[in-house]
């Protein structure tokens, strides 16, 4: 059993598994979002977590001081996800019956004074957080290390926990892409959401049925492309950023056979059986062609399809193109990860001469 978990926790297997679980959760959210399911999941999770914690290697990685926030995050996210699905299922069932959302009921629209209701709650939260942080700081000592040395790096060298998803992304991309371009698009895209998405449905109440694209798209990015990658980066990456299963000892000398190949090498050497051309743009033209097709031909092509036509009818041309650009930007991450796992593909366009790799 432990060997099986060690094997399937590898991103090659766990990424499709997590994606499938996400799809099932979103598809059957009316079942997941019931109290019965929630209590059942909690009752299953407690013995499973106890069994996991009996393993010394697992306990070691779980209780590493840097990883405590991730444990708290996993519990919080599980609870908040179930709770929002529960509220969404409640509302969507009401909407099916022709009733308004639960949040719109007269007793839920009642207004209260900021003082004392809000300010008092905030004071209590401040005190609670302070106590929590003080206790945490006393129990888990800050891991002070030796003075910084520019010619030495710890192994594994891990980012702070909230950047571990980004660090995991960097394994599949050039630093310019995963460090600057994609995070920039993520930040700008999140800022742009209120201006792109002017649909009033779902304002002030939980729903999934009324906003399928928005909910599926955002939650896929949030769960699979952010939280899942943080968990992989935290618990499953050991020395040399090699994959280690949750029950595996972090052996520094674990050897993983890997040889990554650029698309241009596939194209010229493997498929055409020729030497690589000297001119770098001729060498990479196939990858450049694919990228241009992905960025500039795919959006108008989708616009012709039924799905794209529907979005354009709802939000108009400009908002459609911005939305679709953000979606294909987000989709580029799982696409690139799958290509790396299946074909050891390093870069689709590799122009190290210009520091430009995709």
């Amino acid at each position: 059993m432990k060997e099986l978990i060690n094997i399937i926790a590898d991103p090659i297997f766990s990424f499709p598994i997590v994606t499938t679980l996400f799809v099932l959760m979103m598809k059957y959210y009316r079942i997941v979002g019931t109290k019965k399911f929630g209590i059942g999941a909690l009752l299953t999770a407690i013995p499973v977590a106890t069994w996991l914690c009996l393993d010394p290697n697992f306990r070691k990685i779980i209780l590493w001081p840097d990883n405590i926030p991730i444990n708290i995050i996993i519990i919080l996210i599980a609870w908040l996800t179930w709770y929002s699905l529960y509220r969404a299922a409640l509302n969507d069932n009401r909407l099916d019956e022709g009733l308004g959302p639960w949040e719109g009921l007269p007793e839920n629209r009642e207004k209260v004074w900021v003082w004392p209701n809000l300010v008092y709650t905030e004071l209590m939260c401040i005190i609670g957080c302070t106590v929590f942080l003080v206790v945490w700081a006393i129990i888990f000592k800050a891991p002070l290390e030796e003075p910084a040395n520019p010619t030495w790096a710890p192994n594994p060298a891990k980012a702070p926990w909230y950047f571990l998803g980004l660090q995991e992304m960097l394994v599949y991309f050039d630093p310019w892409m995963a460090g600057v371009v994609l995070p920039g698009i993520i930040v700008v895209g999140l800022i742009a959401i209120p201006y792109i998405d002017t649909n009033p449905k779902g304002n002030g109440y939980y729903t999934i049925a009324e906003r399928p694209l928005a909910m599926w798209g955002f939650l896929f990015g949030w769960f699979v492309l952010w939280q899942y990658l943080i968990i992989v980066g935290t618990f499953l990456r050991g020395p040399n950023w090699t994959y280690y299963g949750p029950f595996e000892y972090w052996d520094f000398h674990k050897v993983v056979a890997e040889y990554n190949v650029n698309l241009s090498e596939f194209f010229w050497i493997k498929w055409l059986n020729r030497p690589m051309p000297a001119n770098m743009f001729v060498r990479e033209f196939f990858g450049i062609l694919i990228t241009i097709g992905y960025l500039f031909i795919l959006p108008p092509a989708i616009a012709r399809m039924k799905w794209g036509k529907k979005i354009i009818a709802n939000v108009g041309q400009i908002r459609y193109y911005i939305t679709i650009f953000l979606i294909i930007g987000m989709a580029s991450l799982p696409i690139k990860m799958v290509l790396r796992w299946l074909f050891s593909l390093k870069y689709i366009i590799a122009l190290p001469e210009l520091e430009l790799n995709l």
Binding site: W152, L170, V255, K346, P352, E355
Partner: protein
């Protein structure tokens, strides 16, 4: 005694204000200069950009790590050539480790791997390690100059300054 108060006329007022303003500006400028000076360290612990790395006969076949901690340089002797590699990963600038058992340089940050000859083969590193300028002094010692780098993908590894024949 006259009760009249001494009044400044307009011209005197302006000369006072000019003196005051100049004093104020110079005081601010002085403080800014002090703050600027404070942002530079008194003692610089950064390694020198060039150093003498002993004699060619000091190096055996393979990777030599004796200058890694002091200067960030690996000396690699292979196939009759002695080269000085930068120990900075070409992916995101971490410091890789030399793994003698696996015969490769491996970066702890994102798992980039390089062969002993500096060529990247695994992980996300887009290009090989950089070579530093290396030359022989008249005294027969090796001089490594880190201000000049030679990059494989630009075809600079054929440059006679990027290696010495041993």
């Amino acid at each position: 005694m006259s009760q009249e108060r001494v009044q400044l006329n307009r011209r005197e007022f302006f000369s006072f204000i000019t003196v005051g303003w100049v004093a104020f500006t110079s005081a601010i400028a002085g403080l800014a200069a002090l703050a600027f000076r404070f942002s530079y360290p008194n003692v610089n612990f950064e390694p020198e950009m060039d150093f003498i790395a002993g004699y060619p006969s000091d190096y055996e076949e393979g990777v030599d790590e004796r200058w890694k901690n002091g200067y960030g340089v690996w000396m690699v002797r292979q196939e009759g050539k002695l080269v000085a590699f930068s120990n900075i990963c070409t992916h995101l600038g971490c410091v890789p480790n030399w793994l003698p058992a696996e015969l490769k340089f491996k970066c702890p940050c994102h798992g980039s791997g390089y062969y002993m000859n500096g060529i990247n083969f695994e992980g996300p590193a887009p290009r090989p390690l950089e070579r530093y300028k290396i030359s022989l002094t008249p005294a027969g010692t090796i001089k490594v100059d880190k201000t000049k780098v030679y990059r494989w993908e630009k075809g600079q590894w054929d440059n006679p300054n990027s290696f010495i024949s041993v």
